[in-house]
């Protein structure tokens, strides 16, 4: 069983996994859902990750900035 801290770190890894890798969009979206449930990201940011779920090369942080959404927590 992983501890909450370990799980948090693991999900952070998933959230920031390398762009362009097959399945990485889904991996980032699944992690974004984790952080949404934890209260770290907004529904709007979660929706950005959903839009990028099937697009492994689209950078959700770039897209969020393009949409005018704050990305402070994501880039911290």
């Amino acid at each position: 069983m992983t501890s909450e801290a370990e799980d948090f770190a693991l999900q952070k890894t998933h959230l920031s996994c390398e762009l362009g890798v097959s399945g990485s969009g889904a991996r980032r979206y699944a992690a974004a859902m984790y952080f949404y449930v934890q209260g770290h990201i907004t529904p709007e940011i979660l929706e950005i990750y959903r839009r990028c779920c099937h697009d492994d090369v689209e950078d959700p942080i770039d897209l969020a900035r393009f949409e005018g959404l704050p990305v402070d927590w994501l880039t911290r």
């Binding site: 999900q11 998933h14 699944a30 984790y34 949404y36 959903r50």
Partner: protein
């Protein structure tokens, strides 16, 4: 102790021909023969890592088995709780930390609980357990993963296959690894025509020259008893007249962990209603058939090998697969001929040899599930379901 003797005086008829060409009966078979009986999905070695999954589509239902974060194998309906879309669209693969429905994007943890619904603000708060994937009953036997969609007449897999457990344990199948994945091959026949061929060795000398060359004179079948059958062929002492058999006999070598009586033998465990686990000194494999339509079925199979095989064993495995492949092609032709016979209004029905008692015993198992198989004259299609229920009810009372 299984009493495998063939009765002196048995009814040599097969199932009535209409049973192979009734769409209504096929629907009943999906419900009462397939969904209520154990089905093999894959082998534990198909899921070596956390997040690895394998799916099984069968009779309109969808299963997913996956290895969770704790390393345990779990089975679920491959169905999103939102709109019922298949959650995983691929046959197999890896979900690193979660499963995501490709339809709207609901996310599930590897333990099946809901991580969250897409656009969560469009819903009231949702309980992750209440909206978890529906679990499927599953069991692992010697490395093979079984699922069952609905409770049925069979006991646990361990109990069902108990009579073979001591022998099967010698082969250490749970340690094996995949060879070339899971194969699916469609055939234009009713599923029972496939099983009718596979359940007897009477045709081997006539139709399978390679198998005959390998073990023909030693081959023997035990009928289905309490849901399982067993067949075996021990290599004949001849060198082998065919290239693949001759070289297979030359290269196949005893595994040091096998007792002498098992080291030159191919064994087949039949599992009612539609599956076989076959074992050779080099491999184990499963094959099973599922109906895709009245006269359309899929044969699904996979072969597993020992992880540390040497070059000689690898060569033997290749040769065994050639023999097996040749046999499958021959069998598929036989299933077509058998199936078309069942549609002829002039065919009088099977008249089975003692060497085909396995066919009868499989049919008897079907009759035990649904007595309607005993009805000789084809009922009207609209009456099949009601008649089946009525016969089941009178049998029960």
């Amino acid at each position: 102790m299984r009493d495998t003797r063939i009765p002196n005086d048995w009814d040599r008829k097969g199932l009535p021909g209409w049973c192979y060409h009734s769409a209504e009966l096929l629907e009943l078979e999906k419900e009462e023969v397939f969904k209520t009986h154990w089905q093999i999905v894959c082998h534990v070695s198909d899921l070596p890592n956390s997040g690895d999954f394998q799916t099984l589509d069968m009779c309109g239902e969808r299963a997913i088995v996956l290895r969770n974060a704790e390393g345990e194998v779990r089975a679920y309906h491959n169905t999103c709780r939102h709109r019922g879309s298949r959650l995983v669209a691929e046959d197999h693969g890896n979900c690193p930390s979660a499963m995501i429905c490709p339809f709207h994007g609901w996310v599930y943890n590897l333990d099946g609980t809901l991580r969250g619904a897409a656009k969560p603000t469009s819903y009231p708060p949702m309980d992750k357990e209440e909206f978890a994937l529906l679990a499927l009953e599953s069991e692992i036997w010697n490395g093979f993963i079984f699922v069952r969609f609905k409770k049925g007449p069979q006991p646990s897999v361990a109990e069902l296959l108990g009579p073979f457990s001591e022998e099967a344990a010698y082969f250490r199948m749970e340690q094996q690894v995949p060879t070339d994945g899971i194969w699916n091959e469609e055939t234009p026949v009713n599923w029972k025509s496939i099983r009718d061929i596979d359940n007897e060795g009477y045709h081997v000398a006539m139709a399978h020259p390679a198998l005959q060359d390998l073990y023909g004179s030693t081959y023997e079948d035990e009928p289905y008893i309490d849901g399982i059958s067993r067949s075996q062929g021990r290599y004949t002492p001849s060198q082998g007249r065919r290239w693949a058999v001759r070289n297979y006999k030359k290269f196949s070598k005893a595994q040091d962990f096998l007792p002498e009586d098992l080291d030159k033998t191919w064994i087949y465990y039949g599992i009612f209603p539609n599956a076989v686990i076959a074992i050779t000194p080099e491999t184990s494999l499963f094959y099973q058939e599922f109906p895709l339509g009245l006269n359309k079925s899929v044969i699904r199979s996979a072969t597993y090998r020992y992880p540390n095989e040497d070059r000689q064993q690898k060569a033997a495995r290749y040769l065994a697969s050639r023999i097996d492949r040749e046999t499958v092609v021959e069998d598929i032709q036989l299933t077509i001929w058998s199936n078309e016979a069942m549609a002829s209004e002039f065919f009088q029905g099977f008249y089975l040899s003692d060497l085909e008692y396995g066919v009868r015993s499989h049919h008897d198992h079907l009759r035990a599930v649904m007595p309607i198989y005993n009805v000789e004259e084809a009922p009207k299609e609209d009456d099949v379901r009601a008649l089946s229920a009525q016969l089941q009810s009178s049998e029960a009372s």
